[in-house]
């Protein structure tokens, strides 16, 4: 028996066994430390924001518009509202275009030269600095219109959402097994129907995650709004007029010399992060119910 154990490549002396145990524990420890390193900054930012911002949060913050310089109080109601409008327009532009081009890449243009061009363009677009995006939309929409507008801001955010959504949609569709497509085609379902009702639906949890990532990313963007939405100290819901946005307001308040405005900027940052987290969680909750949950 003893001889047999010695012959097996998996058997070893106690020393070997010890070494394996140590290596195993070290790998586990490394993984845990890395996880902490990832989570720590997020927790730190959140805690610091609560510490700095929570004290300035009050009812007025959510209901009032900014007070003129020198007057204490006021809030960011117009900026919260403006951000919601800008993100709404952005999603209306970015989500359909992004998902549609992702579908093209994965289902119709697969391997073609045009698809490769589109994919390359999307990757480049993803790397375009957001300030450049702002200037581009400025010259495309703001200059011809001759004034800043909520619309141009929303379009700038929407364009920034497109590449992320396109690429995640493509990746998620490619993960749907071919057997599912064949099942649909084998039933005499036209290809377009199969793509929309079967493939896209099967990939929808991932596609939705992609949309949420893009949404969360542009929700905090300031640079593309500087030349487009511009900001507004008053209540405005006119899409053709400048509109306030949380990141813009935070930016303006943070670089101002007034302590009161600094406190509002902290509160605004906290609200922005909480709103993003709530929006993402809400969409996840709504879309993860029902039979979809048991999928895969």
């Amino acid at each position: 028996m003893a001889e047999q154990v010695a012959i097996s490549p998996y058997a070893g002396s106690n020393g070997n066994r010890m070494r394996r145990a140590v290596a195993n524990h070290m790998a586990t420890a490394l993984a845990i430390i890395s996880t902490l390193l990832v989570v720590a900054p997020l927790v730190a930012i959140f805690v610091y924001l609560i510490y700095k911002g929570a004290s300035s949060l009050n009812f007025a913050f959510f209901t009032q518009i900014p007070k003129p310089v020198g007057e204490v109080g006021g809030g960011m109601a117009n900026a919260i509202y403006g951000s919601a409008i800008l993100l709404g327009i952005g999603s209306l532009v970015g989500v359909p275009v992004g998902i549609a081009s992702g579908i093209f890449l994965a289902e119709f243009g697969r391997g073609g030269r045009f698809a490769n061009l589109v994919r390359f363009t999307a990757d480049v677009l993803n790397g375009v600095p957001s300030i450049v995006m702002g200037i581009s939309v400025y010259s495309l929409i703001v200059l011809p219109q001759k004034h800043f507008s909520a619309l141009s801001g929303g379009v700038a955010l929407g364009i920034m959402m497109i590449p992320t959504i396109t690429r995640t949609t493509e990746e998620m569709l490619l993960m749907v097994p071919n057997s599912v497509r064949e099942a649909a085609l084998g039933l005499g379902v036209p290809n377009w129907r199969s793509v929309l009702s079967i493939t896209l639906k099967t990939a929808s949890p991932g596609v939705i995650t992609g949309c949420m990532l893009a949404f969360a990313r542009v929700a905090g963007e300031t640079a593309p709004l500087l030349f487009t939405a511009f900001g507004n100290n008053f209540w405005s819901s006119n899409l053709t007029q400048p509109i306030a946005a949380l990141p813009l307001q935070i930016y303006v308040y943070a670089i101002s010399p007034y302590d009161d405005w600094h406190r509002l900027a902290w509160a605004g940052s906290l609200v922005l992060i909480v709103l993003i987290v709530v929006a993402v969680a809400l969409v996840r909750f709504v879309t993860s119910r029902g039979i979809l949950k048991g999928a895969n």
Partner: protein, 252 residues
């Protein structure tokens, strides 16, 4: 009712690679015809030519004539139309993962715009009964996802899904190769039952299976149909030396 299939001079390619050579073959109505042969011999490609699935593959191309009933499927009809008349069951069970059992069975009709709820209910029950799955799933038709069933149940679900669109022909591409013996036996019983109403073409690697379910058996080798004849003749007294070598296990 099933209809017969008449294949003349059928060639098929993937790009420039020819996988089928001048296949001539008749499948009588309301019988099961088994196709056997070593891996890569073209039998799967062949059945995929019978419902025009072959052309959905990259660079898939077909020449020759396939008549199903009175219909020349490569000249007289659109692929989607053919596929509604020629159902297909694949090697691996492939229920739609996001759909309930009910929706899986109803999918072929629903996705083609059929909306009558009462008739859908009827067809779903009838198809599941036909596929010998009704008693096992009737209590959670809408509660459970098709993907939550066992492998054998999933395959019967796929058969029910194919039956729900009321095809005339049922193509089965190694329908039991991913299943355990008990599930396999159920599928084979099912094929036996279904013959009375559908024409069945079944690709199989399992020669006993061919012998059990099929009236006629065809032997494919390297993209050619070596011979096709009554099953008992193929297995007891084949006309071609290569068939004999294959079924006695001398190669392949």
């Amino acid at each position: 009712m099933g209809v017969g299939i008449e294949v003349t001079e059928l060639d098929a390619w993937y790009g420039t690679h020819q996988t089928l050579f001048k296949i001539n073959l008749n499948v009588p109505a309301n019988q099961a015809t088994a196709l056997i042969g070593p891996s890569g011999c073209g039998k799967s490609t062949f059945v995929r030519c019978l419902n025009r699935m072959h052309e959905t593959a990259a660079a898939g191309r077909v020449a020759g004539t396939v008549r199903i009933g009175n219909l020349d499927i490569y000249r007289d009809a659109a692929p989607v139309e053919i596929r509604r008349r020629v159902g297909m069951v694949f090697q691996r069970p492939n229920p739609f993962p996001t759909m309930s059992i009910y929706d899986n069975v109803a999918s072929g009709l629903k996705l083609n715009g059929f909306r009558n709820r009462r008739m859908l209910d009827e067809i779903v029950e009838k198809s599941l009964r036909h596929a010998a799955l009704w008693d096992e799933v009737k209590d959670d038709l809408r509660k459970k996802s098709g993907a939550s069933l066992s492998g054998g149940q999933q395959q019967r679900l796929c058969i029910a899904r194919a039956l729900a669109v009321d095809p005339e022909v049922l193509l089965m591409d190694e329908p039991a190769s991913a299943l355990d013996p008990v599930s396999t036996a159920k599928i084979e019983d099912l094929i036996f039952e279904l013959k009375s109403q559908y024409t069945i073409v079944i690709v199989t690697h399992n020669m006993q299976q061919a012998a059990r379910v099929a009236e006629r058996t065809g032997f494919f080798l390297s993209g050619k149909l070596v011979e096709i004849d009554a099953t008992h003749k193929i297995f007891t007294n084949p006309g071609d030396k290569r068939t004999e070598d294959y079924i006695t296990g001398r190669f392949g």
